[in-house]
Every structure is written in structure tokens, then in C-alpha cells.
């Protein structure tokens, strides 16, 4: 069992090679970010950079990156640097480069007007070469040469202006056209990913370590892009929505805080149109859904985990709840429309919306409560039983209190989810586009008793009522034909309000979970 390769335990301090490779990785990252900015239109590809158009600059950097990447491979191949490449870059890399070069071949030959057969041929040839170049040489060459060539080809096409500002390509048959404005950033994004990965491998000295670094670079890029999208989305809605949300906002005066956007309706006489009725509608919706789903869900969870014998019945319920959980919201809407509406006065109503959302919330509450109850250690149950305490007493005084954190978290997150639902409301609750303040449902004051069936009624529950997500939808479709001064501002303000309401539920839910976890672990 002799050791095949004996590498040094301690890697030397940063070598020039590593420094250059590291710089190349960083450069790719920067390129990726700028490419993203160009795609989103933050910068234009014909903006001048040091006297050149941005797209040419992109090309130059890509070309340099490509050359550097090839250089890394060559340097390693001829033993100028301390690296631990494996005999081959591996089947995954080979397949990837085959695909990339096949596509490149097909596209390039398409650009020079070759027929379908010709394109296929060129693609296959280039793909084959790429496969051979990746698979057969040692890893250092196999994972740099094809990658460097990709970056180089992209760079060249940008520098020479083959693709650049003003470039366009009609996609025949697709009835669409590609323009330089979108294609250049895409090329840059793609090439910088490939070059960055390859440079990262070189930085890690190829081999297992190099692959590790390469993969990490890609994953870090992916995750930061996701986060960027998240922050971008929320930030965008916030920036667009703040003016509307704080229109007329004031502190002091008659009321301590006056916040017309939240306390006004959109009626005729409102100075500043607001979303009060929809806000109240959403609040009532959530209350109604919670009143239906939480007792039912928690009760069912108690039965399933404490009373029922684990067997076919519990299995069926589990499949059913999971099925309900993933049932599309629009199907719940259809169900509400077919089942509830005929039973509540044949018109869209608040209570139909409440129950429909309640049906949606039910599986969520059930699943989380069940998890929470199952997580209560059996020791508590045993201890209580050994004290001669009956089963129900045990459930009530020991199991449920211990499960409350989990249940609460689940309910809050579930409420966050249903509070933002639109599709079921579309079919079951309706409501005005720009309701006046008076349209806010007065549920508490609405109960009426009567001597004839159904004995109890509440008109407020039986009316179509607006809610935040529905109102946003209605604004998109039905428009803002009210007396609203700045319709766009109003709509974005509404979107922001909705987003905030939902995110607050989520944030509170997540924070509750952290809080309870921390409490549990100390």
C-alpha cells in the first residue's frame, strides 16, 4: 500500500500562481455582476468604458480571462506549479463541454447560413473535439483548455463586434428577435461562469481540492444571485410603494398618527385614497380562516397522534392532508365556488372566502401540529401516566402546552401564506376595486337573530368583500377609474402594504421559531 502521490501537508504560502488564479476568479465574479447589471438595464452595453463601448470592454476582459485560464492549465501541465491534477477532468465536465461546444458550433454555423444538416455536422464535430479535449488529457488541461476557449470565443465575438450593440438576429419561425442588448450580457454571464469555474479549479490546484473550490465558487454565485433577487424584489416594491403608502402620513395633530393610506377608503370624498376596507377584509379573512382551521387542525392532530392507532386510517389521513397541502389554490377556489357559494346566498361572500382559505389552512395546521405533538417527548406522557393521570388530562396539561410553540409557528406561517392568496378569493369572495371606507365589513355588529330559519344571520358575512391581494388583482385588471390622483402610486402602495402584511407574518413566524428553539436549547 504505497502512497501514490505524496503531497505536502502544508501548502506553501500564496504562490504567484495562486494569486493570479485568485484574481481571475475575482475578475469573473465582477464580470458576472456587471453582466447582470447590463441585463437588467442598469448599465447599457454601448456605454463608454475607457474609450471603448462596454461590450468591447467585456470582450477584452473575457479574452484575457480565457488566455489566463489556458495559461493556468499549461503552466500546470508542464509542471511549473505545484498542483495535484487527476488523470482526467471527469465525465461530468466532458459532457458539459461537449454540450457547450455542440451548441456553439450550431449557433456559429447558423450565423454563417449553413443549413440544418451543416449546423448539426459542425456542432457534432466541435462537440467531439471538446469531448476529446476534456476527457483525454490530464485534468489541468482538460478543464482549462475548453473553458478558456469558450471565454476566448465569446470575448472575440464581442471585441470584433460580431455581437454587440445594434446586433440582432431574427429567430426564424419563433417570431422573435435577439438583440445585442440582451445577448451580450447573457454571453458575458455565461462565459464568466465558465471561466470563473475553471480559474477556481486552477486556484485550488486541480484535483479534489480544485474541484471543491470550483464547485464552491459556482454555489456561492448561485446563492448570492438568489439573495440578490430576493433583496431586489422586496427593495423594488418598497421603493415603488413607499410614496403611496406614506402619502399624507403625519405624526401629531388630532390623532396621534394619521396614516390616511391605511385608514381611508377609496371613496369619493377621501382626500387621499387608502386601502382600509381591503385591509379590514384581509384581517377578517384571516380571523375566519383561523377560527375554522386551527381548532379543527389541532384537534385532528391530537386525535391522530394521541388516540388513533397508527395504521391504515392514520396513513390515509396523512396522505389526504399532504394531498390537500399541495392542492393548487385555484382548485380550492373552484371548490369554494361550487360548494360554499350556493350555500351562502348564491353570491360571493366574505364567509365563503373565509372558509375556502380555512380549508387551505387546515392541512398546514394539521401537519405542523402533528409534528409538534409527536415531538413532545414520550417521557412526559409516561411520567404523567405513572402519576395516575388520565389520558385526556395528560394531553391537556402536558402534551398541548409543550406542543404550543410548534403549533404557533406553523399557524403563523400558514396565515402568512393564505393572507397573500388571490386565486381562491377571485372565485369566492370578489369585492370592489376601489371600495369606499364604508365598504369595510362590520362583522361584529352584523349579527342578527330572527324567529325564522336560519335564525342567525350576518349580512356582513354574506357580502362580497375586498381583500388586499384581490384588490391588487382587480386594480391590474379593472383599472383605476376612480378619483385617485396618482393611480400608479396607489397601486404600488397597495402592493407594498400586501407584501408587508404577509412578510410580517412570516418574519414573526420565523422569529417565534428561533425564539422557542433558543429557549429549548439553553
Amino acid at each position: 500500500m504505497s502512497r501514490a502521490t505524496q503531497t505536502a501537508l502544508v501548502r506553501d504560502d500564496r504562490t504567484v500562481y495562486e494569486a493570479v488564479a485568485g484574481t481571475a476568479v475575482g475578475l469573473s465574479g465582477v464580470l458576472f455582476a456587471v453582466g447582470l447589471a447590463a441585463l437588467l438595464g442598469v448599465v447599457a452595453i454601448d456605454d463608454p468604458v475607457a474609450g471603448f463601448e462596454l461590450s468591447v470592454a467585456f470582450g477584452a476582459v473575457l479574452l484575457a480571462l480565457g488566455a489566463a485560464v489556458v495559461g493556468f492549465g499549461v503552466a500546470s501541465r508542464f509542471g511549473y506549479v505545484d498542483a495535484a491534477p487527476q488523470p482526467s477532468a471527469g465525465i461530468v465536465a466532458a459532457a458539459a463541454f461537449t454540450g457547450i461546444w455542440f451548441a456553439a458550433g450550431a449557433i456559429v454555423s447558423g450565423a454563417v447560413r449553413l443549413g440544418a444538416g451543416g449546423r448539426l455536422g459542425v456542432g457534432v464535430i466541435l462537440g467531439g473535439i471538446a469531448f476529446a479535449a476534456t476527457a483525454f488529457p490530464r485534468e489541468d488541461v482538460g478543464s482549462t483548455l475548453p473553458a478558456g476557449a469558450v471565454a476566448g470565443l465569446c470575448g472575440l465575438s464581442l471585441i470584433t463586434g460580431v455581437v454587440g450593440p445594434g446586433w440582432k438576429q431574427v429567430l426564424v419561425g419563433y417570431n422573435a428577435t435577439l438583440f445585442g442588448d440582451t445577448v451580450v450580457p447573457l454571453i458575458v454571464l455565461f462565459a464568466s461562469l465558465v471561466a470563473g469555474w475553471s480559474a477556481a479549479k486552477a486556484y485550488g490546484g486541480f484535483g479534489a481540492r480544485g474541484r471543491n473550490v470550483g464547485a464552491y465558487v459556482l454555489i456561492y454565485l448561485v446563492v448570492s444571485s438568489i439573495l440578490a433577487v430576493l433583496v431586489g424584489l422586496v427593495g423594488f416594491v418598497t421603493v415603488k410603494g413607499l410614496p403611496g403608502l406614506f402619502n399624507g402620513f403625519g405624526v401629531g395633530g388630532a390623532a396621534l398618527i394619521s396614516w390616511p393610506f391605511l385608514t381611508n377608503g377609496a371613496g369619493l370624498l377621501a382626500d387621499i385614497a387608502g386601502v382600509f376596507p381591503a385591509l379590514v377584509g384581509t384581517v377578517w379573512l384571516v380571523i375566519g380562516a383561523v377560527l375554522f382551521a386551527v381548532p379543527t387542525g389541532v384537534g385532528a392532530a391530537v386525535f391522530l397522534s394521541e388516540y388513533a392507532e397508527q395504521g391504515r386510517f392514520t396513513g390515509a389521513v396523512e396522505v389526504a392532508t399532504n394531498g390537500l397541502w399541495s392542492t393548487p389554490s385555484i382548485v380550492f377556489g373552484l371548490f369554494g365556488a361550487a360548494f360554499l357559494i350556493p350555500r351562502f346566498g348564491n353570491q360571493k361572500s366574505l364567509i365563503a372566502g373565509m372558509l375556502t382559505l380555512g380549508f387551505m389552512l387546515l392541512p398546514l395546521v394539521l401537519i405542523t401540529s402533528r409534528e409538534a405533538i409527536l415531538a413532545v417527548p414520550d417521557e412526559y406522557r409516561d411520567a404523567s401516566a405513572a402519576l395516575g393521570v388520565s389520558k385526556w388530562q395528560t394531553i391537556r396539561s402536558v402534551v398541548l402546552p409543550a406542543a404550543i410553540p410548534g403549533v404557533t409557528t406553523g399557524v403563523i406561517l400558514g396565515v402568512g401564506r393564505i393572507a397573500g392568496e388571490t386565486a381562491p378569493l377571485l372565485l369566492t369572495m370578489g369585492g370592489g376595486v376601489l371600495p369606499a371606507k364604508s365598504a369595510a365589513p362590520n362583522v361584529l355588529g352584523g349579527f342578527q337573530l330572527s324567529g325564522s330559519p336560519p335564525f342567525v344571520s350576518n349580512p356582513a358575512l354574506l357580502e362580497a368583500t375586498s381583500a388586499l391581494p384581490y384588490q391588487l388583482y382587480a386594480l391590474i385588471t379593472a383599472g383605476l377609474s376612480g378619483n385617485i390622483q396618482n393611480p400608479q402610486e396607489y397601486a404600488w402602495g397597495l402592493a407594498l402594504t400586501l407584501l408587508l402584511v404577509v412578510l410580517v407574518f412570516y418574519a414573526v413566524g420565523i422569529a417565534t421559531r428561533y425564539y422557542f428553539r433558543r429557549k429549548l436549547h439553553q
Binding site: 370624498l269 377621501a270 382626500d271 371606507k437 362590520n442 379593472a478
Partner: protein
């Protein structure tokens, strides 16, 4: 604005504007206060109906000048024919014998308008769910009933007209497509003409926008433009409501679409349409305009009420008081013309008022 003395939240009738329970709470009406008038239906009629309802519920005093009555700076249109010192809803309600409340935001009875579709509105009034069914198409088509049935069960109140102009994107208009013939439009909507160059425009594809299948606007467009309510159509995009059509026409530079007159806006242009040699122009001052009743896409906007045992006339006093408001010069100007629909000629107004019960 006119209600600057009100705190911003009191303004839109926070306390007693509507809600069926509110009537019984209001100070000077007895426990048997009249119920809220409810209406539902077409998104095309909605602007008229909703605006009327807002004005009604605000019950602005005669000194307001912006929404009702007159003051030193302004007076509402048609005011010279009314001249009362009552609040707006008080005034119209009193014509049919209701006690005025005298309070802003507290009409003698409230009104409420819901938005859906013509068919839904007609069904709702048929089933007695609402008092008034708003429809942009005739109820005979919406409910598939005969005219006899209609006459036996419903009263048709026409409150205004929709010219239903055809719009194109600004770029197309600027490139010279300022008018089309009926034939050309039919060709475009049935997929025979797909490029603007075929009708004298730039060489770009036509993005054809329609309204949702089954909507009143869609039905009447097929009927009036394509010749048959079931005529086939070939469009690139359909939208549920007028606003979306408007938005999409603005966002694209090669689109054509039709929608209610009320939704014209910047970035889109109504075009003239030539029917059998007559050019109907969107310009109100032209010889023949799309506001004319001869314009083939012209259609009545209906508010249907139901005939039943309690109201053999079809219209009870509450409904009459509310509907009557639209049938005044004030109402036509404020609720119809201001939301870009076509007002009724005086003779039609007279005929419509005939359908209402006698005033007190």
C-alpha cells in the same frame, strides 16, 4: 377640495355611508329604514354606476360646489335645472318621498355597486340577489331569453351609451394608420390581415387584443363588427377587463384593440372607422363621430330591475330615486360624460324617465 374641513377619514362616509345595518343606526330614520340599493354587473357600466353610487353615498350638501350644488367658485353641471338647498341624495330621494337626513355621508338609504360581468349581473337580478343588474349587452342575449320574457320580468333602464372605439398603439397611429374600414378591422380580427403594411401602416405584425370570451364587450363586438355574436375570432391576446387592454396597448407599439370609451388614455389613439362609406371619427366635432347612434359599435348601457309581486312596475321607490339621478342633465354630465361615455339624447332621457314610477 370641497371637503377640506373634514378630517380626511371622515370624508368618505366612515360611519354610515352604507352597510345594511347602518340604516337602522342612523339618527333620524325609524327602525324600518329603507334597505340599501344594491347593483352588480358589467365592468363597462361599472364606472357610471359606481360614480353615481359614490356621489349618492356622500350626500354632499348644496354648498359643496364640487360634487353637488354651487358656491362662489363653481357649480356642478346641470345645477341650473335643479336649484335646491338639499343634499344630493336627500334631494333625489325626496322626489320619491323619502325623509332627508340633512347630513353629509348619511343618505336616506345607501347604495352599493359590485363589479363582475354582464351575465353575472343579469343572473343576480334574475335571482333577486341585487336590486339592479348592470349589463352592457341586452339581457335577452345574456340570459338567453325571449323578448316577451324580458318584457314580462324586467324593466330595462338605459342610462348611457358606449361608443366602443377601436384603438391602436401610438406608434401605429403616428405611422399613418388613422382610420380603417370595417372590412379591414374584420380582417384583422379574423386573422386574414396580420401585418400593418397591409392596411397602409409600417411593416410590423399586428398585435390583436381582444376581451375575455363571454364578456359583454366581446359579445357585442362580435355582433356589431363581425356580424354575429358567435362569429369566430383570431386574436393574440385576451384580457378580462378594459384596463388591461389599455395597459397592453400602451406597452406595445403594434397593437390594436377595442374597449369601452371610458378607458382611452395617453399612449393609445382611437381611430376613425369607415362603414359603408361613412367615416366615423373619434373627434366629437367631426361630421360623423363614434358618439353618433349610427356608429355600428354603439351600444346601450343597461340597468335592469326585476318585476315581481311587490313591484309590479318593476321599479320600487328606492331604485327609482337612484336611477332618476342618472336621467338628469346633472347625472348625464357627471356620471356619463365625465367617465367618457356617450350621453343620451334628450328624447331618450324623457322616454327613460317615463319608465320610472311617478314622483311624490
Amino acid at each position: 377640495s370641497g371637503n377640506s374641513d373634514n378630517s380626511s377619514d371622515g370624508g368618505d362616509g366612515s360611519d354610515s355611508g352604507s352597510g345594511s345595518d347602518d340604516g337602522s343606526n342612523s339618527i333620524d330614520s325609524s327602525s324600518s329604514a329603507p334597505a340599501t340599493v344594491t347593483a352588480e354587473g358589467s365592468s363597462t357600466v361599472y364606472p357610471i354606476s359606481n360614480r353615481g353610487s359614490s356621489y349618492w353615498n356622500s350626500n354632499s350638501p348644496a354648498s359643496d360646489g364640487e360634487y353637488w350644488g354651487a358656491n362662489d367658485e363653481s357649480s356642478v353641471a346641470g345645477w341650473d335645472q335643479i336649484e335646491t338647498d338639499m343634499n344630493i341624495a336627500d334631494y333625489f330621494a325626496s322626489l320619491y318621498g323619502f325623509e332627508p337626513s340633512g347630513e353629509r355621508s348619511n343618505p336616506p338609504f345607501a347604495t352599493r355597486v359590485a363589479l363582475s360581468h354582464s351575465g353575472t349581473g343579469c343572473e343576480a337580478v334574475r335571482d333577486g340577489l341585487v336590486d339592479i343588474g348592470n349589463s352592457s349587452g341586452p339581457i335577452t342575449a345574456e340570459l338567453d331569453i325571449s323578448e316577451e320574457e324580458r318584457d314580462a320580468n324586467y324593466v330595462d333602464h338605459v342610462v348611457g351609451r358606449d361608443g366602443q372605439p377601436v384603438f391602436v398603439s401610438q406608434a401605429i397611429y403616428d405611422a399613418g394608420v388613422e382610420q380603417l374600414t370595417g372590412e379591414q378591422i374584420r380582417g384583422i380580427y379574423q386573422g386574414d390581415i396580420t401585418n400593418w403594411s397591409e392596411v397602409g401602416g409600417p411593416d410590423s405584425e399586428i398585435f390583436v387584443v381582444g376581451r375575455a370570451e363571454g364578456s359583454g364587450t366581446d359579445t357585442s363586438f362580435r355582433l356589431n363588427m363581425l356580424g354575429d355574436a358567435d362569429a369566430p375570432m383570431d386574436v393574440d391576446s385576451r384580457f378580462g377587463q378594459n384596463q388591461q387592454v389599455q395597459q397592453v396597448l400602451q406597452d406595445n407599439d403594434n397593437a390594436i384593440g377595442y374597449m369601452a370609451l371610458a378607458f382611452s388614455g395617453s399612449g393609445i389613439q382611437a381611430i376613425g372607422i369607415e362603414f359603408e362609406g361613412t367615416l366615423f371619427e373619434p373627434d366629437a366635432d367631426a361630421e360623423n363621430t363614434i358618439f353618433d347612434s349610427e356608429y355600428p359599435l354603439n351600444r346601450d348601457l343597461h340597468m335592469y330591475t326585476r318585476i315581481n309581486e311587490e313591484t309590479p312596475d318593476g321599479t320600487d321607490m328606492r331604485e327609482a330615486a337612484f336611477l332618476n339621478m342618472f336621467l338628469t342633465e346633472f347625472g348625464q354630465k357627471t356620471f356619463v360624460e365625465d367617465v367618457n361615455y356617450i350621453t343620451l339624447p334628450t328624447s331618450d332621457i324623457e322616454a327613460e324617465r317615463e319608465k320610472l314610477p311617478d314622483q311624490a
